[in-house]
């Protein structure tokens, strides 16, 4: 038992964000999502597609769109109340992070989910100053530019 080993390959997308998640012991998933780069609670609209042949799709998208950055991490996942995911992430080259994701149905007004995330923030004592608006992909790109060891490629 050592958590989930995940490797996210971010592609250059014209609209929103696109990444391929490869995870040991699970089928790969293509994740298309849109999310504002704001700190604090924010809504992410996403679509997940299972990919049985990840290498082929990765090669195709790398050729057509180009790879933006690759992020490797070890994730410990905790589920709270079925719909809330608590992630303890050790991200290669970036450090350790905690992330809260409250999954909402399409018809939700998001009040319950926002309240759940606020409760967790209070419980863990996370101040506004501690919240990071950027994704791991963007942090990895910045780190690559600073030559901290994370590689970005096009």
């Amino acid at each position: 038992m050592c958590g989930l080993i995940q490797r996210d390959t971010y592609f250059n997308a014209r609209e929103g964000r696109l990444k391929l998640r490869e995870e040991e012991g699970s089928p790969a998933q293509l994740i298309a999502y849109e999310r504002a780069d704001l700190s604090g609670e924010r809504t992410s609209y996403y679509r997940l597609v299972d990919i049985p042949y990840a290498e082929g799709l990765k090669a195709a998208l790398a050729t057509t769109l180009g790879i933006k950055v690759v992020v490797a991490k070890r994730r410990r996942l905790y589920l709270w109340e079925e719909n809330v995911r608590i992630h303890l992430d050790a991200v290669e080259g970036l450090g350790d992070f905690i992330e809260f994701e409250a999954v909402a149905s399409e018809d939700s007004d998001l009040k319950r989910e926002e309240d759940q995330v606020r409760r967790l923030r209070r419980a863990f004592g996370i101040d506004d100053a501690d919240v990071i608006g950027s994704s791991y992909g963007e942090l990895a790109l910045e780190a690559a530019k600073s030559e901290t060891g994370v590689t970005g490629e096009r």
């Binding site: 038992m1 699970s26 998933q29 996942l77 589920l79 709270w80 109340e81 079925e82």
Partner: protein, 140 residues
């Protein structure tokens, strides 16, 4: 459909433990979701080992409290553990140990900790506010 993560499996198993096995008295479900050598401590303080002893314990609770209900107030699952904040309620219409039926309504809270492996419960340990229980049954 995506494959379920083990955390999702564990959470679902514990939900079924309470909502089906206990609340609907589907004791046969024990063969599916409890390990053969399960170690169990119930909220009433009784400890048992193995499915047969567990079933005996559940039948004892059922005969004392036919309307026994397990309310999961909050639940958190990880890759090998699940913890639940619980409220247990029931009406004592049958004998509980040496306590004759009182008709008393019991309502007490507690917590339960589970260890799971490969989608079955290996160990379950529940602790309840039994002071409240015994008070309701006139024993405090």
């Amino acid at each position: 459909m995506s494959a379920e993560h083990v955390e999702q499996v564990n959470l679902r198993v514990v939900r079924r433990f309470y909502e089906e096995l206990w609340n609907q008295w589907k004791l046969d479900l024990a063969d599916e979701i409890l390990a053969g050598a399960i170690r169990f401590r119930g909220s009433l303080g009784t400890a048992c080992e193995g499915r047969q002893e567990f079933r005996h314990y559940a039948e004892t609770v059922r005969s004392a409290f036919p309307d026994w209900h397990n309310q999961v107030e909050e639940i958190l699952a990880s890759e090998d553990r699940v913890v639940a904040r619980m409220t247990w309620t029931g009406t004592q219409l049958g004998k509980l140990g040496e306590i004759e039926p009182t008709g008393a309504r019991v309502d007490y809270c507690g917590a339960a900790f589970f260890r799971l492996s490969h989608g079955v419960v290996e160990e379950a340990w529940a602790v309840g506010d039994t002071q409240e229980l015994w008070r309701a049954l006139g024993r405090l």
